[in-house]
């Protein structure tokens, strides 16, 4: 019953939060509205999202978010340095293949996104079977190291969260 | 006192159109029944409004209960009522024809689009607000786009693209014009504009005139006034027969708008604009008539010939409008009634002929077709109607126009009108003798004689009957029309009726 009413409980939660962010206040009326919408909209969009991802262990999630935020800021300084100060000749771009252990689409998506937003790397494509990501590095003298860092730093964490 | 009935001509079709789309879009029979019913209803309402308009001064309907000029108003006067009734009548006839010939089944949504088309037309006649006029122009245009390409087909689609493209430019121009006028006068209500123009500071005149001319050019496009007529021939020639017949009213919308704005907002007495409109309109109208007539003689297909006849009739109509005198406007209105019915008749006959010749209306002799004699007779009737030959109303219309254009420039105007009639009848004679007579050379034995399509024939005869009645009752009709133009030139009544609540 509850499962039919809330096909995606996280989504419902997310929507309620979103609504409160939108109306930018904490009126009771808004909350009621938020709850209504948070219930109705997932029901409407459920067909587009057949299988629900299972999320577990909140601390891991929080940890991951913090790591990524830190890396984003860091990566930006790196990129800035390369863009502003490194002479074109010295920049050593590289392609890296990152084989995947993850299998959940959601998880892979998050990983790919993370890679793009973090130091000097950018997800360009995926193998047509979905078992590897093609990553481009802006400046990577040692591509292998990049791959290992990705797998260790992000994929491992995501595996703990999603699978 | 018509109360809410004034808006019925807009609301009825839109609701019917909506219902057709919502509930009946899979059932042609239902569509036909309800669509016809709605049109009959529209005709009845228009008739009632026509009567009311003749007994009362202009009546105003304040939409949203906002006082003019702040909200949008509908105004019912004789002119609006006449246009409504004419449209409803033509619509009913054309609709019967479309059903009778099965045209409405050759594509989707014919009846819905048809109703929306009527909504747009009615809205355009009734509105007393310049911008709202634009909106309803768009409604009737977009519906006409749909009807024009109804049934699809290569030639029709290519013509359709041109038709839309040209009218999109027109719509853009319309907006430029409205913005300019608003930017000077700060109002959109036509009566209010008219009133404010009386006290317009001199320094604003030039800019306002630009706005006025742009506006008139928009209507000139609709009215197929040379050199803005280019969109018409292909459109009318390639549109489905009944649609082309319905379009007989579309050009008249342009004429209506010119008459409305030219008498209400920019009459020659307006200090800022003066005779600007007339000065530009008169020569253009003459050229239009001439070009249309030459087109009738030079056309290569019956359909195109009909199209050019339509252009020519617009020329005659605008010749009568141009002086902006009550007498001229009366003549123009009579000719408007006549040329609408006559044009529609011609297009329907051409459609019947083309249909029997395998949708080929090129001017060459083909083996005799079914009902050749009858069709020839009808074509003959339509032709003399459009050429303005007696005994059909066109002749009376032409006489009225000539009578109304006495005075300076009379020689030129009369010569043009008469020569145009001459060339037109010449063109029709050539076409008719080729299509209907020469065919007897090609194949002596009797043609297939199927009558069929009772509704279609009813429609055609109805139009012919309309012309005959217009001829017989020319007197009373003209009385009503001169009362109408009197009302038009007596702006005070209109303006005071609209701005009655301005104080609020």
């Amino acid at each position: 019953m509850l499962r039919r009413l809330f096909p995606h409980p996280y989504l419902t939660l997310l929507l309620i939060v979103t609504w409160m962010l939108l109306v930018n206040g904490t009126k009771l009326g808004s909350l009621v509205m938020a709850i209504i919408l948070g219930t109705v909209i997932p029901l409407l969009t459920a067909p587009y999202w057949p299988n629900r991802p299972r999320l577990r262990n909140l601390p891991a999630i929080i940890g991951y978010v913090l790591v990524v935020l830190y890396d984003i800021v860091k990566s930006n300084f790196i990129v800035a340095r390369i863009v502003l100060f490194m002479p074109k000749a010295d920049i050593q771009p590289a392609w890296v293949t990152v084989p995947l252990d993850l299998q959940t689409p959601e998880a892979i998506t998050v990983l790919a996104g993370t890679i793009t937003m973090t130091p000097g790397t950018l997800t360009a494509d995926m193998s047509s079977c979905g078992r590897a990501l093609l990553v481009h590095c802006l400046h990577a003298p040692d591509p292998a190291a990049v791959r290992d860092e990705i797998k260790a730093r992000y994929e491992a964490r995501l595996k703990r969260i999603f699978e | 006192m018509m109360g809410h009935w004034i808006i019925a001509p807009v609301v009825l079709p839109v609701i019917m159109g909506g219902l057709i789309v919502l509930a009946m879009r899979h059932d042609l029979l239902l569509q036909r029944v309800f669509s016809v019913a709605a049109t009959v209803g529209l005709l009845a309402i228009s008739g009632a409004l026509l009567y009311a308009a003749s007994t009362e001064p202009p009546e105003v309907y304040f939409l949203g209960d906002w006082p003019a000029p702040f909200g949008i108003v509908l105004v019912l006067d004789r002119l609006a009522a006449i246009m409504l009734t004419l449209t409803a009548l033509l619509a009913l006839i054309v609709q019967l024809y479309a059903i009778g010939t099965g045209w409405d089944a050759r594509g989707r949504h014919f009846h819905a689009l048809f109703q929306f088309q009527l909504m747009g037309l009615s809205g355009a006649y009734l509105t007393g607000d310049a911008f709202n006029l634009f909106v309803f122009f768009e409604v009737l245009l977009i519906a006409s786009y749909g009807l024009m390409i109804h049934g699809g087909g290569k030639a029709r689609l290519r013509a359709g693209v041109q038709y839309i493209a040209f009218n999109l430019v027109g719509s853009t121009l319309f907006l430029f014009a409205l913005a300019t006028i608003y930017s000077v006068t700060g109002t959109l209500n036509m009566a209010d504009i008219a009133q404010k123009l009386l006290t317009l500071p001199e320094g604003d005149a030039a800019l306002l005139r630009v706005g006025a001319v742009l506006l008139m050019l928009v209507f000139a496009i609709k009215g197929a006034l040379v050199p803005l007529q280019f969109w018409l021939p292909a459109t009318y020639a390639f549109a489905p027969g009944p649609v082309a017949a319905l379009f007989a009213i579309m050009t008249k919308v342009g004429a209506y708008a010119v008459i409305r704005t030219g008498t209400l907002i920019f009459p020659p007495t307006t200090p800022a604009t003066g005779t600007l409109i007339a000065d530009l309109l008169a020569p253009a109208a003459l050229v239009t008539l001439a070009l249309g007539a030459i087109g009738v003689l030079g056309a290569t297909t019956l359909a195109r010939q009909a199209a050019f006849a339509a252009i020519a009739s617009m020329g005659t109509l605008f010749i009568a409008v141009a002086p902006f005198t009550p007498q001229g406007t009366t003549a123009a209105l009579y000719y408007l009634l006549h040329s609408t019915l006559g044009g529609a008749l011609l297009f329907l006959v051409v459609d019947l002929v083309a249909d029997r010749r395998g949708s080929d209306s090129t001017l060459k002799a083909l083996p005799p077709i079914a009902n050749q004699g009858l069709l020839a007779a009808l074509f003959f009737a339509a032709a003399i109607a459009m050429a303005g030959m007696p005994p059909i109303s066109g002749f009376l219309g032409k006489l009225l126009v000539m009578d109304a254009t006495r005075g300076p420039g009379m020689a030129l105007i009369w010569t043009t009108i008469l020569l145009a009639s001459f060339v037109t009848i010449l063109g029709f004679a050539r076409a008719g003798s080729t299509v209907f007579w020469k065919s007897h050379e090609t194949q002596p034995e009797d043609p297939p004689r199927h009558m069929g399509e009772p509704l279609a024939w009813t429609a055609v005869c109805a139009l012919l009957a309309g012309l005959v009645l217009l001829t017989i009752f020319a007197g009373p009709v003209t009385d009503y029309l001169s009362a109408t133009s009197f009302e038009l030139y007596d702006r005070a009544a209109y303006i005071s009726a609209v701005l009655a609540r301005a104080g609020e």
Partner: protein, 114 residues
């Protein structure tokens, strides 16, 4: 500011006109879109320009810009959107029927520009 807006409108109009004078459907459609952008700004500007005075009721405001022209522009935008959609489809249809996307029908040369 007025000069900027006016010149922008002028440029967009000019570009639009130039494009509608091209001989294939696509540029003509783009040109019509440009014209409608231009005229929308034109209407908007015809209500005069105002900075930081949105027509949202606000007791503390120093004034409002003209809300009416904005409403008119909205209507205009919507209508021209509908019109553009239709002509795009018709152009596509004409191309599919005819095999050429010329908008002039004077010379029926088949397939070109592809």
């Amino acid at each position: 500011m007025e000069l900027l807006v006016a010149s922008a409108i002028g440029t967009m109009t000019a570009c639009g006109i130039y494009l509608i004078l091209r001989r294939t459907t696509f540029p003509v459609i783009v040109g019509l879109a440009m014209l409608s952008y231009a005229v929308n700004v034109f209407i908007f500007a015809s209500g005069r320009l105002a900075l930081a005075m949105p027509p949202i009721y606000d007791p503390a405001t120093k004034g409002y810009t003209d809300p009416l022209t904005q409403a008119l522009v909205l209507t205009a935008i919507v209508i021209s959107f509908g019109m553009t959609a239709v002509i795009v489809m018709m152009a596509l249809g004409a191309f599919l029927e005819h095999g050429s996307d010329r908008i002039d029908t004077d010379d029926d040369a088949p397939e070109d520009g592809a």
